[in-house]
């Protein structure tokens, strides 16, 4: 591929010295079937034939990923690819068959019931595709529910819940019952509930998939707005690539329980690790994903005109270059000249390599 000229500098989006990951899993397996433990006896790992022969389903198949604090990791894949199972293993809603899950360095899988409950009461929140609100409680009581469970007093918890309801833009609906709200509003309640305990790690399992496209868009903006304020560590599941592109810091592509590739959208598009990822990314609008940095060359004296930032997407310069500019200077955040981008490279991104 022509665009492979520059190495992508770092796998992690932010920070120079990698901070300890907020959430990490290593060699994680979840196998459904009669007695999956036998497959893993004495530290062994099953191969595809062994799984098939026993009628097992490896919903999560040897997955290792890290999520940095404050990062949005999107898990992408077709229905049945194991996304939900993965996120449930990460939150230990189900017990994994093998592997390791760490939350801020603590092993989640060896934690006892009591510590786990404490962890969920303070560190984790989850949003569900079908909302899973309590039908017999009002919006306010739904949001206050996790606080009630951890024993917070009535007045304080309602105060906090009210703040959360305001945060997600539902003020005035506190006394409504879930049944009386639209889908988008119900999911706002779900979001407020998951945020009420001020979790550090936030899991969202296809939170917007049940909503109409227009509402979905609105909720994505809402989500980004919240994340700019809150800086949570997020694992977000979707089967919609558009959604992944809009929200992701990094994306995991899953297929048959395997993590086919982990990386920034741009990496997936420019350097697909497998044929499957390539097929998956073929139809995406590349100009909106690929940054100028990844196609720029060394600074060139011939470059003229208004400079573009290295972090801008190709779409930002596309029009100028199609209309005739040959080379455009590239600058970094500080405005210093770091390179130049030539017309041919931009056309390669837009229309594929010649």
């Amino acid at each position: 591929m022509a665009a492979r000229a520059h190495e992508i500098e770092t796998a992690l989006p932010r920070g120079t010295a990698a901070p300890p990951p907020a959430l990490r899993c290593e060699g994680l397996w979840k196998v459904f079937g009669a007695d999956p433990a036998t497959l893993f006896r004495n530290g062994g790992r099953p191969d595809a034939d062994a799984l098939k022969a026993g009628g097992y389903i490896a919903a999560v198949n040897d997955v290792s990923i890290e999520v940095a604090a404050g990062e949005i990791l999107i898990v992408m894949g077709l229905s049945g690819s194991g996304k939900s199972t993965l996120i449930r293993c990460l939150a230990r809603l189900i017990d994994s068959t093998a592997g390791r899950v760490e939350v801020e360095g603590r092993n989640l899988l060896t934690m006892n019931e009591k510590d786990l409950i404490e962890l969920r009461r303070h560190k984790m929140g989850m949003v569900f595709q079908n909302f899973a609100l309590l039908p017999h409680k009002t919006v306010l009581d739904n949001v206050a529910f996790p606080l009630q469970m951890r024993g917070m007093g009535g007045r304080e918890r309602l105060k906090r819940a009210r703040e959360m309801v305001t945060l997600v833009g539902l003020e005035g609906r506190e006394a409504y019952f879930p049944r009386e709200l639209s889908g988008g509003q119900q999911q706002r309640v779900g979001i407020a509930r998951s945020l009420a305990v001020e979790p550090d790690i936030w899991f969202l399992d296809e939170p917007f998939s049940a909503l109409d496209p227009l509402i979905r868009r609105e909720m994505q903006d809402e989500f980004l707005r919240l994340q700019r304020m809150l800086h949570k560590t997020i694992v977000f599941i979707t089967h919609d690539f558009e959604e992944a592109l809009r929200l992701a810091d990094r994306i995991v592509i899953m297929r048959n329980g395997r993590a086919e590739q982990v990386g920034r959208a741009e990496e997936l598009v420019l350097n697909p690790a497998t044929e499957y990822v390539a097929r998956f990314t073929r139809e995406v609008p590349r100009a909106r994903i690929v940054t100028v940095r990844s196609v720029m060359d060394a600074p060139d004296g011939a470059a003229s005109g208004r400079p573009v930032p290295a972090s801008a997407r190709i779409e930002a310069v596309a029009r100028r270059m199609i209309e005739g500019e040959e080379t455009v200077p590239v600058v970094d955040e500080g405005g210093a000249l770091v390179g130049s981008v030539r017309r041919g490279r931009v056309l390669d991104v837009l229309f594929g390599a010649a």
């Binding site: 409950i117 996790p146 469970m149 006394a175 019952f177 009386e180």
Partner: protein
Amino acid sequence: MATATAPAAAPALVLSRPRLIVLAALLLALALLLLRPMLPDGLVRWPAALTPDFAAWINGVFYFVQEDLGLTVVTRAVATLVEWLLDVVRNLLTGERGGFNVEPVPWLTVAALVTALGAYLGGLRLAVLGGGTFLYLALFGQWKDAMLTLSLVLVAAPAAVLLGLLLGVAAYKRAWFESLLIPLLNLFQSLPHFAYLIPVVVFFGIGQHAGAIATVMFAAPPMARMTLLGLKGLAPSVHEAALMSGCTPRQSLRHVEVPTARDALMVGVNQVIMQCLAMVVIASFIGASGLGYKLLLRLQSLKIGQAFELGVSIVLLAIVLDRFSRAYAAKKPVHADRVTFRTRWGWPLIMAGVLLLTWGLAALWPVLWEMPRHLDLGFVRLPLTLAPPIDALVDWITTDLFNALQAFRGWLLLTVLIPMREAYLALPWTAVLVLLAGLAFAAGGVRSALLVAGFVLFLALSGWWDRAMITAYMVSFADLVVIAVGLPLGLWLGQSARRAGAGLAVCDTLQTFPSFVYLIPVIMLFQVNDVSAIAAVMVYAIIPVVRYTIEGVRAVPSTLEEAALMSGANGLQRLWNVQLPLALPHIMVGINQTVMFSLFMVIIAAFIGTQDLGQEMMRALSDNDVGKGLVLGLCVAVMGLTVDEIASSWSARRRRELGIV
């Protein structure tokens, strides 16, 4: 042809594997029947010498538990508690001494509160229904008996709900308990009412409290089942949301799972209430007083007019309890934009106002407190009565229609019933076993066949084979007629949405009536004999066939009907090639229920004179013979479970084949 799925489109008769099996079983059974004279006696009837004495074993166990384990201490404590609760409620509702030993609540107040409750639950319609019913009870002199019956329901229903809830939750939490409970529930729900009465009499004696305890035991199983179904039916994310909210398992159950399953639980509560009423009426056999007891007396002495009045009271109470509990189930919380004094306190205040006002009125006029036995208001005499015209009608039937009815009865007995009965009695048990096991194998494979064979073997071994065959003949005759009438009726009703709605509404209402009251009209027509028993079974058992046929036809996807229309099928072709094949699995569930209903009814009908298992059960009841009673009950249950096994496996397989879920 209309659609690819219509099996009727197949040319001629295709001998598929299941059909071959059925055919083989049929031929073998026939051979056994024809070779009967040559068969060794043991293959025709199980030798009496080898019949295990189940009854004595059961009696031994009961005796051991009761005397040696000292269970009497427990049962006596339970009896005392139940008796005290009943006393309190009865004291409040009827003024009978006991309990708190206070004056009863004025009848006017009870009636007015029921009316207000109806208004709260379902607006004007339920207010009129509730008020009208209780007014009827007061004006027709049924107040006291009705309140006795109601007090039994008021004590038994909450206890049954609680017990069922506990069992259901335990099964939800512990898989081993679930695998234990499910078969027990299947068994309990196929035991006829009487089977519950006998052990209760042994452990608790007879009387009001025994009636209440039998009722709780009878009504708790459906609640346990609905609880388990409701909890297991919750979306997995409900449970996960609870976990992620930091719930402990107990918090999750109490704050999340049980409230979220409310709809299913309320279906269970409604069933419990209706089962309670049905059982309370039947519990009059073991000394529960009230409407059922009076009805029993009137029917025994053939006072049909008074029996009819009592029947109306029971039916009205049933409808009120059913509609009220359903309205409560359907009531969903609605937010109030502003919490005002009125939204918060409106209904409690109205109730309090009604209470005070009516109490005051009753204090002024004692007639409004306690309805006197007789009251002459000048323009009308209380209590009102329907008995004379009904009795006149019955007289007219027995005199003027006597010949016609008698001729019909004689004809039916001679040409149909007696030959059929003889045929059933002639069947060697081996032939029945081969035939039924073959059917079960074709429908559900080896497991079903073994199960059914075990059931039939139990019947053969029980020592009650002939009685069981008489029960079987009555049920199968009644059900053949019922299907022949109910199926076309259901198909016809199912053709239009409006007719279907009306049909289902009628079925709904009829199904709430306690089975016992179906005896009244039948006795009016045929007096007391086996034809009336069969007629009662028919009237009661036709409801599920009709209802499930309507539902089945309505559930056929409209695209398929349109496809048939576009293929040029006329109405009858469409019915035959599309609707019937697709609806049949669901209809089969209805037929299954019809058989269950029939078995229950035929046992109840025992008391108007049959010679089957039910008659023996009545005898066991009067002898306090718990072993015999339970063996007979198990015989009935086993017959029901046989039909259930065959019908539901067939239905499930057919659904899979048709791709209906």
